[in-house]
């Protein structure tokens, strides 16, 4: 489950920033430290060359150019060691190269950009966090509520993941439904779904590529059951394949304005379904055939014309549905 940092805006709206996990931060740190290490190695080698056999020579012959070069190299060594993170976090607004690569960023807890003082605090305390190969930092992040190391706690900073905040990464996988092309009211009406049901179905479709076949097989029937009961549609069967194909033709393509090209279709077929596993789950799970439309029909007097304007309490089961995929142990992050 992803953790969030909440931003209270002056508009009284809560915005949510997803926090970066320990693993991501560790990898970012690894990249940064490798960079620091290699730069320092080069500078130290140069310093070694500048001083090799010449320390006494310099004193005796007065080779001051060499002496000053050595002094400058020593200062550079210091600046790289203590200043690397400070420099990058200040001038790229919270992203050292490693963090940039891992798509994470330092921000002020509760929103806002970090200040000079914040950057100094979190990076001077890095020395303590780094004890035992960042063991202290790891333990602290494990305990703290917002995945903060000591430096973060003291500076009041959090590391947010921009994997999801970077909305260019949120490419639609379901046909042509993108940001620039939200669902038209007509298309929505054509699907015959309530907004909650629609949201549930769409969420499933967005996340489908990230879910395992098992997870999909478990979730989709649960998701469709209330819809079947209310709308009274007939499902083509109860295999994952046929259900997904039904969802695609009935809802997804319509939502895309009926223009989704056929080429998107092949994606629908579930990959690598082991026949035995499929048969297993089919018999183990209560199938949709049991929740037949026949018994569901009387529940809703006008199944064909769902009232879009008033999502009443009758829709409660459907509103719960979107939460189902989230509770699955499937991959939580977005696919890159």
């Amino acid at each position: 489950m992803q953790d969030f940092d909440l931003i209270e805006t002056p508009e009284n709206v809560e915005l949510r920033q997803p926090l970066a996990g320990i693993g991501t931060r560790f990898l970012a740190g690894l990249i940064d430290n490798l960079l620091i290490g290699s730069v320092m190695l080069v500078v130290a080698a140069l310093a070694g060359l500048a001083s090799y056999g010449t320390i006494t020579d310099i004193v005796e012959t007065g080779n001051w150019a060499n002496a000053w070069l050595l002094a400058v190299l020593l200062v550079i060594l210091f600046l790289v060691y203590w200043g690397y993170f400070v420099f990058f976090e200040l001038y790229t607004n919270g992203q050292s190269p490693g963090k940039k690569h891992m798509k994470i960023r330092v921000v002020k807890e509760g929103g806002g950009a970090i200040t000079f003082t914040d950057v100094m605090i979190r990076n001077l305390l890095r020395g303590v966090d780094a004890i035992g190969g960042y063991f202290v930092a790891g333990a602290c992040m494990f305990i703290s509520r917002k995945v903060q190391r000591l430096g973060d706690l003291a500076a009041g900073t959090v590391i947010v993941s921009e994997n999801t905040t970077d909305y260019t990464a949120m490419r639609a996988t379901a046909g042509r439904i993108t940001w620039d092309q939200p669902i038209t009211p007509e298309a929505m009406e054509a699907t015959g779904l309530t907004p909650q049901e629609y949201g549930a179905v769409m969420s499933y479709w967005w996340r489908r590529p990230e879910l395992t076949v098992e997870a999909r097989r478990r979730v989709l029937p649960k998701l469709l059951r209330p819809i079947v009961r209310r709308v009274g549609v007939t499902l083509p069967g109860d295999s994952l394949e046929s259900l997904e194909s039904f969802v695609f033709t009935t809802y997804i393509r319509l939502a895309a304005g009926g223009q989704a090209p056929e080429e998107v279709r092949p994606e629908v077929a579930p990959i690598d379904v082991h026949p035995a596993a499929a048969a297993d789950s089919a018999s183990a799970n209560p199938t949709l055939a049991d929740a037949a439309p026949a018994e569901a029909a009387p529940v809703d007097p006008a199944p064909a014309k769902p009232d879009l304007a008033e999502p009443g309490p009758a829709d409660a089961p459907a509103a719960d549905a979107p939460k189902e995929p989230g509770s699955e142990p499937g991959p939580a992050e977005n696919a890159p």
Partner: protein, 324 residues
């Protein structure tokens, strides 16, 4: 309004704000023209409210996430602290804010000084009364004295002359600043780590001094360390005071939460330690250029003492005029 209607009416605003945020990119608001900036300010509050409305209408979670992400991005652009000119900020800090901060946190620095002096005196008199203990405290000093019979202050200073002035100063400055940073950072262990740094330094200095005095080399010793040592020890003790401030905020948070207390303490403490940097630079230059020089020992001692008093005067007096 239906959710579909909601999306329909708002999608242009989202697309436009999205375009503006993208255009601003990493340059921030500097990447926008004045008209675009106004547009951003006009669009953002509406989109922030859309986040809540999208939740209310229960539209699909991906679109919700995207509106949220858009609002976060715009919020980050707008509520960024204005950056002042760094040169001006540093000048203000050095001339006014830092001495004032120092005076406010003087109790912590005084605590560090007390720890240092008490330990130092204890160690000094122990070694004076029982010279053999020097072998435990400061084997290096024993080495230096015992292997060089008839040590003069010039002999001792030769050690400083083994390295050219500039790299010596650079090495000393960077090393001392690192020590100061650690003295500060270790404060987060409720001050224990900082105390360790203070005690180690006190024992080292006092042990050296006592052993040299035991061997009638007191003047040689002081003429060798005073030029840079006074200011250096002062700066280290101020950094240690910063560490104690940090430690105290963790150990004794008072009526606020421990994390909130730590945050307030860290803000004070990090500035206190950053203000020592100029002192370390001056002390390092003194160690690189005055200490190894051929000036008479008395002059070096006077130089060091004057340097120390100048620093004290700066810390206690600078910036007072402003308030009056």
């Amino acid at each position: 309004m239906t959710p579909a209607r909601f999306i329909e009416t708002r999608k242009n605003a989202w697309a436009r704000l999205d375009a503006l945020v993208r255009q601003a990119g990493r340059r921030g608001t500097a990447g926008l023209s004045s008209a675009e900036l106004h547009e951003l300010m006009r669009l953002y509050p509406g989109v922030a409210v859309d986040v809540a409305r999208a939740r209310m209408y229960g539209i699909d979670t991906r679109t919700q996430e995207r509106i949220n992400a858009l609002a976060v991005a715009a919020h980050g652009l707008l509520y960024r602290r204005p950056s002042s000119r760094p040169g001006h900020a540093i000048w203000r800090f050095v001339m006014f804010d830092y001495p004032a901060l120092f005076r406010r946190l003087l109790p912590y620095v005084a605590l560090a000084i007390t720890l240092f002096v008490v330990t130092g005196l204890g160690c000094y008199f122990t070694v004076r009364l029982k010279p053999s203990l020097a072998y435990r405290f400061v084997p290096e000093a024993v080495d230096m004295v015992d292997n060089n019979p008839g040590l003069s202050s010039d002999d001792m200073i030769e050690r400083f002359r083994a390295m050219p002035n500039a790299p010596l100063a650079a090495g000393v400055i960077t090393n001392n600043i690192s020590v100061a940073f650690f003295a500060f950072a270790l404060g987060i262990t409720m001050g224990l780590g900082t105390c360790y740094v203070i005690l180690m330094n006190a024992m080292m200095l006092a042990g050296f001094a006592a052993h040299f005095v035991n061997n009638d080399l007191g003047f040689q010793f002081y003429s060798c360390i005073t030029a840079h040592g006074v200011l250096e020890i002062m700066a280290i003790l101020i950094a240690a005071g910063a560490g104690l401030r940090l430690g105290m905020s963790v150990a004794v948070p008072g009526r606020i939460s421990r994390v909130a207390s730590l945050r307030a303490g860290a803000k004070d403490a990090v500035l206190l330690v950053l203000g020592t940097l100029p002192m370390f630079v001056v002390a390092g230059i003194a160690e690189g250029f005055i200490t190894p020089s051929h000036l008479p020992g008395e002059m070096k001692i006077v130089f060091g003492v004057v340097l120390g008093f100048t620093a004290i005067a700066y810390l206690l007096l600078a910036g007072r005029m402003r308030r009056a």
